[in-house]
Amino acid sequence: MSEGLLLGLETAFSIQNILFVIFGCFVGTFIGMLPGLGPITAIALMIPITYGIDPSSGMILMAGVYYGAIFGGSTSSILINAPGVAGTVATSFDGYPMALKGQAGKALALAAYSSFCGGTIAAIFLLVAAPALSSISLSFQSPDYFALLLLGLTAIAAFSGKGSFIKSIMMTLFGLMLSTVGTDQASGIERFTFGQIDLLDGISFLLIAMSMFALSEALMSIIRKKETEDTMKPPTADVGSLKLTKEEIKEVAPTVARSSVLGFFVGVLPGAGATIASFLAYGLERNLATAKQKLKFGKGSIKGLAAPETANNAACSGSFVPLLTLGIPGSGTTAVMLGALMAYGIQPGPRLFIDNPAVFWSVIVSMYIGNIVLLVINLPLIPYIARALTLPKQLLTVLILFFSLIGVYLVSFNAFDIFMMAGFAIIAIGLRLLNFSMSPLILGFILGGMLEQNLRRSLTLYDGSISFMWERPITLTILILTALILLMPIISSFKKKNKDEAVVAEI
């Protein structure tokens, strides 16, 4: 482990990679700050750039963008009450009231310090948990992977949907269906190509990610223009003092410690991620608060701001655990990163730790550097970066469209991809209008190939029998977990129904 860590330190601390982290954090903050554009879009826009550099640097850049985007989302939540990222919605509950009181600077500083602490504690956990989990998962075979992939797919559907489990499952299936387009890797048979040569290699992951996130989000911002314009107020360049008093630091310290641990473990769960972590941490702090403190929540409580901010950053680190050790993404964002890693020819999973230690360790180390960069460079620059929010939207939207289109074109040099992107953008807009979430789709698309491969292998190993599902204890355990996650929403909806009926009966 120490050798790997040294290798990671060496790679992450090279001047080139430090510059990549700084650049990533800066760009991520900028994009994350724009309402409607989240870390997935920010990372998707970066992918074409990372194709030209080595995998370690690429992953470091993307990790920086991820952190930056979450931080940027907090900034727009605090300054204009328009969270750029779902994970920072809870930040606006108390951050925006603080800004209204003229304490925007303090709120931003508190958000940055909390994020830093959350990220730091989580990075330490990651340092310990990832190699340990990797060693365990080395004993995994195809049936276990098949079960794990199923778990990942159902978990993200259970957690990531906008309140609708079935809708998320449908989106996962849509992603899985899209993944079958092209030549079947095992048999060489064409599937769903309709005689189109451009589809023989399947649909590129980058094309799907860009169209479903960057393009559709930019286009949706035009349709929803009125809605956002009504709620958005122009930010002021003067954010006030960035200083925190000793008493305030003392008050939030336990909150930060609790939320870091909570955030990390929620982030590790496949599908949970920063949004759930931030809401849980906010809820936990409100429940633990005294009656007097409780009254402050929603009106500018520093605890109410520190909790979600710490938790969402800790969850970001946590979501890297399943990605790096099992090759299963814990969130939509890490799903996009998984796709990027696979495009490099690197297979994330337990072997990553052994085959590509530089990638594995440098990503972990760079997370910590990312946190320092956010604190040291981004925080003082926030008043200036915030001016990005005043950039004319009509210019920004068209530029995002251009970078998305050319980003995909530069990888394939095929104009057909641009037509496909336009088509997928239309589909994505339709899906968004019908309240479908995009994260399960991208996860299904990325994991589809692996799911098929592992099921095929498992069946071959067991002579065409599905007995591997109950003969292998690890597979069985994971499948039981999957079934529980699948049943969880149904059980909770029944519980809710019974509760409602009881309330009605009482009335």
Binding site: M170, K225, V398, L401, A415, L434
Partner: protein, 161 residues
């Protein structure tokens, strides 16, 4: 009957899954492969059936939900039509297709300058100075970074070469 977004989504997905399923059965197999446990058709068939099942379930659940809710609650859904926004959105999608069609024949620089300017115009930007600054220098700098610095080829235009 009032068609809510949930019902519409489920219905569209059901139709899509059915069509996908139809084509899944059309996937050719090698002779004798039909006796194999796992073929190229297996996963697509499984996805199609699951898609149809889940969308049918979603459809049924949303119908049940409609019976539970009063009419007032049902009509609470926000309308999602902002005519101007939609026209702009549709024009931009058309512009993307146009960009795809012109990029290789006309070359990166002219096609992109036209794309950016038309895009800004569609979204209401009319100031000539802003239109120029936000397109020509952006395209030239991008082209220079790509071709001169990173050595990436960008189409110079099939029509001119």
């Amino acid at each position: 009957m009032n068609i809510s977004r949930d019902k519409l989504g489920a219905l569209i997905f059901f139709i899509f899954s059915s069509c996908y399923g139809y084509y899944a059965f059309q996937i050719p197999l090698y002779p004798g492969e039909e006796y194999d446990v796992f073929t190229s058709q297996s996963m697509p068939k499984l996805y199609a059936i699951s898609g149809m099942l889940f969308s049918a379930l979603a459809l049924v659940l949303s119908v049940i939900e409609d019976f539970r809710n009063t009419e007032d609650e049902q009509s609470n859904e926000k309308p999602f039509f902002d005519k101007k926004g939609w026209t702009q959105c549709a024009s931009l999608i058309g512009l993307m297709v146009f960009y795809g069609a012109t990029l290789e024949p006309f070359g990166f620089i002219p096609a992109t300058i036209v794309f950016l300017n038309l895009g800004y115009l569609i979204l209401g930007e009319r100031r000539p100075k802003v239109l120029f600054i936000a397109s020509v220098p952006v395209v030239i700098v991008f082209w220079a970074i790509m071709t001169q610095l990173l050595g990436i080829y960008l189409s110079t235009g099939e029509l001119w070469s």
